[in-house]
Symmetry: C2
Subunit: 358 residues, 2 copies
DNA sequence: CGTCTTTGCTAAACTGTTTCAACAAGTGTG
DNA sequence: CACACTTGTTGAAACAGTTTAGCAAAGACG
């Protein structure tokens, strides 16, 4: 008999929609808040009749649980953070965009919200990446665009915070990851170029501190070795993962490697920059120089000429990382180390090597 | 004298970092939780000595306020949502990326977190865009990529939820907005083309339901009228804001408008698609056809030829929208209608019209 | 010396949920 | 008929903060 009828302070809530609480529903239904809560959570100890009555009331009153209170009580926020690197154009990057797309779609389906964070130096120095857990902003974090120098990734493991490295791989840390098969992708690209008769193949890559980039580089050397080619020091150039970098790298290659007939770039942006540079130098793609990219961004099909590239299942990588992260949050014990397959997409930036075709 | 010494249940928190609470600090300092709370919130009624002592203790114990509890009590979450349109590549879009970049940077500086949402049909049908307020996920929302058909934008005003339309403008709704000066941008582009001697200028635009696109279209007609040119029906084609659309639109223009010497595209993606198509048709850019874009995405400087375009201050638009939204959350009464200036960036996709230069 | 004000702090109410112990009523069993 | 078990529900504690009313003690003043 609702003994607790003491006046609730009238909500001083200027202009904001007055929200109904569990209490309001309970009072209206003349039951305790515990009962309403149990109905909403499908507790089987509530009679069918009461459950139905209250469900209708909840519907009619438009009750929405306050998820701050829910999270406070349940210790789960149902929010995960996406950590992006502190690059000026990180959000405007098609590569990250594709991964985030997969993350968000999966998150939505699993009832999770996605929060955006950038791994800026001061953010990390203040240990904010751990604080977002301690302060209960998130249940887990997905780390994009990481490299070996990002030692902060290890903090998550040490602090017991669910975290996942997306599309990269740390050697000396047991942190979970979901990654594309860069090695196999590089093999396919090199096989294809070699098949077309190319031997003097330049590699534009970046950041040796990125494991996946190292895989590509090693595969490049291994594949050339298979056909008896020993690349010179000038054959591998850093392109910083940007169009500008790719363009500069291509210039360096054209300068220092006479007779070069093909360029393999570690991502599409560098490939596009490189193509641009080759064309600027008055040479033709693919007649004089073939170019192969890596990523298969949507854009790759709309440059001139269209770009032959390795397709990475970035959307799928994002979705799977999200799924596995949620499992980890819910207590999964086994480590996650998923590798997703890649494939070659042939377009118009590649052709038979000149020495062969002529 | 801590009368409330009843045992707190031992935290059943397997593996997770044990977090210190206000209570823990209070107990250690032998004061009440209220005192600690007041110290942290800078309440002046606490003695300097106590404040200092507690601040040091807070530091030493590594206390971090639980923001779920804070938000529950204060009714502010310090989180805003960014609503993106339900396009497959919304996150991979450089246009949105640039705006989001500005939003996130500003949010970080103002102590806000950013949550990502996609305006999918079922999301809106379930009124989730209002629910995220009712359920206290966010204090405000920034709407990107909206158009006149998105009537849900009006729901925010009706429900008293702080919201802001970013880089667009609704005629019949008094919702706040921050927008680039599309009209002036289009004027600059048209002036420049006309200056170069172009008269037969095709327009690739999109979605008449987007106010800013309509502004561009109207300006295009007005500017042509100024020089006595009446564009035919075939001169204006829809390009759907995509590379593919731009390419198709360019084909249509080349087909149906004999003697066309310039194309003005409503965004850079369509411009790039159009350039690609023109080149594919065996014509040269800019010698045969000049192309002007709109946006000045980072990418525009790395296509071949580099793209002449209108620079939009998208980063700044995002940052300002965020700032104004926070003001609105904190009770700002006056409507926000900001317009940010644009400017022309001349690159290599434009040249004198053929009839003039020859 | 008694009253008033200021200072410094505390108890308790409040935010809105989940969950558990307990209890009344009804049913089944020996 | 007594006892145990099941069913349906409730009260209260817990989550972790903020905020307000109010209580002592100390200083100012008539």
């Amino acid at each position: 008999m609702l003994t607790d009828l003491k006046q609730r302070r009238v909500r001083a809530n200027p202009g904001r929609a007055s929200v109904v609480s569990l209490r309001d529903v309970a009072k209206e239904a003349k039951v305790s808040v515990a009962t309403v809560s149990m109905v909403l959570n499908g507790n089987s100890r509530i009679s069918r009749a009461t459950a139905l009555r209250i469900q209708r009331l909840v519907e009619r009153m438009g009750y929405q649980p306050n998820r701050l209170a829910q999270s406070l009580s349940s210790r789960y926020t149902n929010v995960v953070a996406v950590m992006l690197p502190a690059l000026r154009h990180a959000f405007a990057d098609a590569y990250f965009g594709e991964v985030i797309s997969g993350i968000c779609d999966k998150a939505g389906k699993m009832g999770y919200k996605v929060m955006l964070e950038q791994a800026k130096p001061e953010f990390l120095k203040e240990k904010q990446h751990i604080r977002i857990f301690e302060r209960r902003y998130v249940d887990g974090v997905l780390c994009l665009g990481t490299n070996d120098r990002h030692r902060w990734v290890e903090d998550f493991g040490a602090a017991g915070c669910p975290a996942m490295v997306v599309d990269n791989h740390f050697d000396h840390t047991r942190i979970d990851h979901v990654v594309c098969d860069y090695r196999s992708g590089a093999e396919q690209a090199m096989n294809y170029l070699i098949q077309l008769g190319h031997q003097k193949i330049g590699l534009i890559t970046a950041a040796p501190e990125i494991k996946t980039a190292r895989s590509v580089r090693e595969t490049y050397r291994a594949k050339l070795a298979e056909v008896g080619v020993e690349p010179g020091d000038d054959w591998v150039v850093d392109g910083e993962f940007t169009e500008e970098g790719g363009a500069d790298a291509a210039r360096s290659l054209m300068d220092k490697v006479p007779g070069l007939t093909a360029i393999f770039a570690g991502n599409d942006k560098m490939a596009i920059g490189a193509m641009h540079q080759v064309l600027t130098l008055g040479l033709r793609v693919p007649q004089d120089v073939s170019v192969v990219g890596f990523d298969d961004l949507q854009h790759a099909a709309f440059v001139n000429p269209t770009l032959t590239t390795i397709h990475l299942p970035l959307y799928e990588v994002g979705a799977m990382a999200m799924e596995r992260l949620i499992e980890r949050i819910h207590g999964r014990a086994e480590p996650v180390h998923e590798v997703l397959p890649t494939h070659l997409v042939v377009r118009n930036s590649t052709a038979m090597a000149k020495s062969v075709s002529s």
